[in-house]
């Protein structure tokens, strides 16, 4: 195929604009993506579902939530409540994202209802409509960082650094999520939502939003009745004051890398992390591996990484190392929105569909 590289100029990240149409025209939409070669027997073993690891992690998850909430309530009004609410808020406001994600894929547990129950709980915690996000996330996997197709591009170019880092305590994101749920609860859907959610699911979307909003309304009512912030500190607000870890990890996934390529090795980042972050993030630091093979459960991603790492760019060695790279790239993108960090593939790796980033390659090396 000899498609022209994506034109330089202002990007339109909406899902119904000119970039969306162009992505379809030049073959970037719903395209065939690169996959590293993995023997079928090995892949079958990696994909195998089991309940054990996720049950163990979920028992710990609930224990931390219950213990954190207990301490927060018991010591409320004294400094002693701070460490309890710190743990509670990170488990609520950050690890909800990875539980939502893995259970949404249906890979965390072997037993489907376990995935569904944790998916619903985590969707509530992360303030996402469980119906909408199942579909938007499917699109993110189909068209990862394809402009005009992917509804989950966090770092649009030119980057708004201040806005995105204000999001560290996700005030903007959480407020936006709440407003979306409130809008959905009134039965209103945007053209973007109608684009990626099939019509048969719209009723479920509205119902889910109404349930979430009813729980928030009840929490506010209890807070007013008791004239205390405590109910809100336990339900709703942890999505803001405990989301820093989710945001910190989330920014590392794709920021500063290529758009409009069909190779996750070039638009996604794998970062080695400490075991606590890996528990909170459920191994999504192996993010190239996850995008390339979304059927591999979180607990098998370290093994998958070992199998394919010779075909991947070298991983970032720590969160700090990842951020050094992200900041350097975003700084350049502020003045040159066409710039992106071109990940270097090892000599043993196969290149793929170079025609889509020929232009950008030239710019990234200047």
């Amino acid at each position: 195929m000899t498609a022209a590289p994506f034109p330089v100029g202002q990007r339109d990240y909406s899902l119904v604009g000119p970039d969306s149409r162009r992505a379809v025209e030049i073959g970037l939409a719903s395209a065939e993506w690169y996959h590293s070669d993995v023997p079928r027997a090995v892949m079958k073993d990696l994909m195998k579902r089991t309940d054990g690891p996720a049950i163990r992690d979920t028992i710990l998850w609930f224990a931390l939530l219950i213990g954190g909430a207990w301490g927060g309530i018991y010591f409320w009004g004294t400094w002693a409540c701070v460490p309890f609410l710190f743990v509670y808020s990170v488990i609520y406001g950050s690890s909800c994202d990875s539980r939502w994600h893995e259970c949404g894929h249906g890979t965390a547990f072997r037993t489907p209802w376990m995935n569904d129950v944790i998916y619903q709980i985590a969707s509530f915690m992360v303030m996402r409509n469980p119906v909408t996000w199942r579909w938007s996330h499917a699109r993110h996997h189909t068209d990862t960082y394809i402009v005009g197709r992917d509804a989950e591009i966090a770092w649009m170019r030119p980057p708004k650094t201040l806005t995105n880092f204000l999001a560290l305590f996700d005030v903007i994101g959480a407020t936006r999520s709440l407003l979306i749920l409130a809008r959905n609860a009134t039965g209103r859907l945007t053209p973007d939502e109608k684009d990626f959610v099939p019509e048969s699911e719209w009723g479920k979307m509205i119902l889910a939003a109404r349930i979430h909003m009813a729980i928030y309304a009840a929490t506010i009512a209890v807070a007013l009745a008791t004239w205390s912030w405590l109910p809100l500190m336990l339900i709703g607000l942890p999505r803001i004051y405990g989301s820093w870890h989710m945001v910190m990890c989330g920014h590392l996934q794709h920021a500063g890398l290529a758009e409009n390529v069909l190779d996750h090795r070039l638009n996604t980042r794998t970062v080695y992390m400490n075991p606590i972050s890996r528990y909170i993030y459920w191994n999504m630091n192996y993010h190239i591996e996850h995008h390339m093979f979304p059927m591999v459960p979180y607990h098998a991603l370290p093994r998958l990484h070992e199998v394919i790492k010779a075909d991947l760019p070298p991983p970032n060695l720590s969160i700090l190392d990842g951020y050094r790279e992200v900041f350097a790239s975003l700084r350049r993108q502020k003045t040159d929105p066409e710039y992106y960090l071109r990940k270097t593939l090892p000599p043993s790796a196969k290149p793929y569909r170079e025609e889509f980033h020929t232009l950008n390659i030239a710019r990234s090396n200047t």
Partner: protein, 104 residues
């Protein structure tokens, strides 16, 4: 009456697995169920046209490798979103260690 086309040998597919079978410009998936029976469906997911042969067979379900949608490959019924449209199924017969797919 279907026309019976040779798809593969029975031992070409491990139990609880599938293979891709291409014929006459179309692509099919042939399954070896854990109970030893064989089944056949269209080879591509109804959600986004992805080959199912890289997916995972769990019992009588096939999970699509792209977004983890699931079908019951015996009936083609869509079982897990994002798949909403059922998969086409085809009759299968096994004779002398060979799997045949019935195409009309």
């Amino acid at each position: 009456m279907p026309q019976w086309i040779r798809a593969c040998a029975t031992d070409d597919i491990n139990p609880e697995d599938l293979i891709r079978f291409d014929h006459d410009g179309d692509t099919y998936a042939i399954y070896h169920a854990p109970d030893g029976r064989f089944y056949a469906t269209a080879g591509r997911c109804t959600h986004e046209d992805v080959h199912l042969c890289d997916g995972l067979v769990m019992g009588h379900l096939i999970e699509c490798p792209k977004h983890n949608g699931q079908f019951d490959y015996r009936t083609g019924e869509a079982k897990r979103s994002p798949v909403c449209v059922n998969l086409k199924t085809f009759p299968v017969k096994v004779e002398a260690g060979t799997v045949f797919i019935g195409l009309t």
